[in-house]
Amino acid sequence: MDKTNCRSLLASLSEYIEGTLEEQICREIERHMAECPDCRVVVDTLRKTIYLYHATSEDESMPADVRQRLYQRLNLDEYLKP
């Protein structure tokens, strides 16, 4: 990961995986990745890292007793849904 192209990919990595880079720069990155397995692995595993955090958090909700105490503290008991 000490090559100039690898470093320039790193700098644009977030924008690349979010799809907010200009098309021409995207094509340059994809050309580079076709020749650089390390960068391809970094891009793929970075995407997966973000996906895993998002996926595991989506189904996390607060415990029922925490919700109940919150509504009590806010004097909103009557609006607490079962």
């Binding site: 790193l10 970094v42 997966k48 998002h54 958090s57 909700s61 925490v66 105490r69």
Partner: protein, 197 residues
């Protein structure tokens, strides 16, 4: 956190309408609790942050001007509450704009392709526990940006508003957080791959 959320009547909220406030609590309490838990790794502290966030919101709503969205405003209150908890433990904690250009090396250290691991392995109870452990290894100023942008799905602009940071600082910290977590997960899942080999 915005597209699919119901609209709220600011007039009713400012006037102290309890039903509308209850709807606000119902809509955003899970996200606020999750943010606090990931930031603090303590269910008790997360519950305190959750309660204090909505108590402070209730007090401040009459003067809420609506310059940012309600969700961003709630996140800002929650972040400040979480920082207060962290500073009680370590007074030096801060997330304000500073020089992000130097310091942590972001060069990746692992080049193992673990994407091929089956979903049940990637999302096992043990893996989930490691995901929580890994995020705690990030410095607070990177962790909070990752939580807001990549877990809660705020835009770069909303994240910068919630944290009172420039968009440039948010982008720099987000990249560092993502790369650090990728390295940590690569080391962890790399071992799982070796066990299978």
């Amino acid at each position: 956190m915005n597209d699919t959320k119901p609209a709220f009547s600011l007039d009713r909220l400012r006037a102290g309408d309890r039903e509308e406030f209850a709807r606000l609590v119902e809509t955003y309490s899970d996200q606020i609790y999750r943010l606090a838990l990931k930031m603090l790794a303590s269910p008790q502290d997360a519950e305190d942050v959750l309660q204090n966030t909505f108590l402070k919101a209730l007090q401040a709503l009459p003067t809420f001007e609506g310059r940012s969205s309600l969700s961003t405003w709630l996140y800002r209150i929650a972040v400040n509450e979480a920082l207060m908890v962290l500073r009680r433990q370590r007074p030096e904690v801060q997330i304000a704009d500073d020089d992000d250009s130097a310091g942590d090396d972001i060069t990746p250290a692992y080049f193992i392709d673990w994407c091929c691991l089956p979903e049940e392995e990637l999302l096992s109870a043990e893996s989930r526990a490691y995901l929580d452990q890994a995020i705690q290894q990030l410095p607070e100023k990177y962790r909070i940006v990752f939580i807001l942008r990549d877990i809660e799905g705020l835009s770069i602009r909303e994240t910068s508003e919630a944290l009172n940071l420039s968009e440039t600082a948010v982008k720099t910290r987000l990249l560092r957080a993502r790369l650090k977590l990728r390295d940590l997960l690569s080391a962890y899942y790399g071992e799982r791959l070796e066990e299978k080999a």
